[in-house]
Symmetry: C2
Subunit: 303 residues, 2 copies
């Protein structure tokens, strides 16, 4: 099953001709999630051929404009294109008022139900789960309350060794337990070992998202061992003071978080408009953590 992240916007507060403000599209086992929604996100989604009506979770990290100014326009377009399927937005409490007000003055009534889940930027908690995935939030440290997100697959079942199982002539009723790795004792006293009749489950994959944050080692625990971590890297180390002052991170600080959290791969984004290429971000981060990419708009990363 697929698990991938498409970068819709990799820039910071000031959009540039190459970098839209922040937005990402996550597709995970047929669950479709939008994370942040800077101005122009709906056009980016069209450009990169994402079918917008598939999205039914929108996660908004915080209320700086470059992370949500595209949201009301995106909802309006979903409506105009005939959406009737409900949608859940997870974001700061005030966001609901902002959206409702703008729809109201325009005389618009959405043709679909909009559910809000209020986040406060302080909690590490489960936001959503179904049989396949979980969405978590965790706190970041920015100038205003800001939420990180963790999207992960639930532990998967072990895979049945169907051939061996059939040869043994065992009852099909044993399968669910064996797939969960539970050994079963038959009435005869014989023990059927899960290990013997199943293959190990594929490991569950996970994606961690840290939008805007000062360097904060408390983040390490929240994203420990994720396969893929996105962490903002607005600045380079030569602007360390500016990073602290604005509650942002440098490329090497992001890499340090990735290293401590022992993640699989690190993505850097939210580059300040002052940088016209990403070479130095790559060099600076690579010195600390090897498997790193500085993202560009339109790229898709498989997990």
């Amino acid at each position: 099953m697929n698990f991938e992240v498409t970068i819709l916007g990799s820039g910071a507060a000031l959009p540039t001709s190459n970098r839209n403000p922040t937005a990402q599209y996550v597709s995970c086992n047929d669950r479709h999630i939008l994370i942040d929604c800077g101005e122009g996100t709906q056009v980016q989604l069209r450009k990169y051929h994402v079918h917008i009506q598939k999205i039914n979770h929108i996660l908004i990290s915080h209320l700086h404009g470059d992370h949500f100014f595209g949201l009301v326009g995106f909802l309006s377009s979903m409506h105009l294109l005939g959406r009737d399927k409900g949608l859940t937005i997870y974001g700061p409490e005030e966001l609901e008022q902002i959206i409702r007000l703008q729809l109201e003055v325009g005389g618009a009534r959405l043709g679909f139900e909009l559910n809000f889940v209020a986040l406060n930027g302080k909690e590490n908690r489960l936001l959503f789960e179904d049989k396949i995935i979980e969405i978590w939030t965790f706190p970041l440290s920015h100038r205003i309350p800001t939420n990180g997100f963790l999207i992960k697959e639930k532990p998967r079942d072990r895979k049945l060794n169907a051939e061996l199982f059939e040869e043994a002539g065992l009852s099909l009723t044993l399968i669910p337990k064996l797939k969960q790795g539970i050994d079963v004792e038959l009435d005869s006293g014989e023990v059927i070992y899960a290990d013997e009749y199943t293959y190990p489950a594929k490991p569950s994959r996970s994606y961690g998202y840290c939008s805007d944050t000062i360097y904060d080692e408390r983040i390490v625990a929240y994203v420990k061992h994720v396969n893929l971590l996105y962490h903002e890297a607005t600045f380079l180390d030569d602007k360390l003071d500016r990073a602290k002052q604005t509650f942002h991170s440098t490329a090497s600080q992001a890499a340090s978080i990735a290293k401590q959290a022992e993640v699989g791969k690190l993505l850097l984004g939210h580059l300040s408009a002052r940088y016209d290429n990403s070479l130095k971000h790559f060099e600076e981060a690579s010195a600390v953590f090897k498997n790193v990419r500085v993202v560009e708009d339109g790229e898709t990363y498989l997990i």
Copy 2:
């Protein structure tokens, strides 16, 4: 002196890959005006090399998202780029709350003064004047209160025939009156005729803007004889019912307004996303009014 209109967005509610939502930049005798500000306008301004800090009047026709969802992002960028010069926004009353709320939740305080002039979509009145230009608003007929705009040069002074004036050895104090076309009687009883010592003034130019409106002949009086008229043409005549139902116009209806108002040239825009080219809009309007263009993003029209 220049008087020109740059089309930043020529699409309707749903942006397409070719047509951004509505916005126009008007440059008139060194006055710089933004009319409407759909999502993505700040990127369009950069793309078409408009220096955004020059803009100090923003006119918002109405509160459908495709006409203002880019405004808060635009103001934020002006601030981030160091603006300290005040700015006046003319638009529906609720717009002020929408902007203030979004700035407030983001913890932003603009580094420049923001003045609001509330419009109600019902009045024909002067909004701004200085020595050179006037900005007027007039009512349109849409689903929610909507304002049209008229930007015009004030009547210009006649131009002195300096050679003749010097030869006659007349006092320089006469010049202001002569330039205004006023004849002057000297103490000697001699009458100095303005016609004789000055050339006719260049005619004043004007631009009329009708964003979203149903066909409404009351508009004719407001834009009578303008040099350039922009009128929405969301649909073609084969969607006349849909036009009425949504309070929009067809290309031939827009052309009919232009013809009755005896304007110099007509621009059509706000084309529904259902049309993938503008040929039929051009044909339909041309049958009614000759001097017509269907605008594209990035075009500049001289007045």
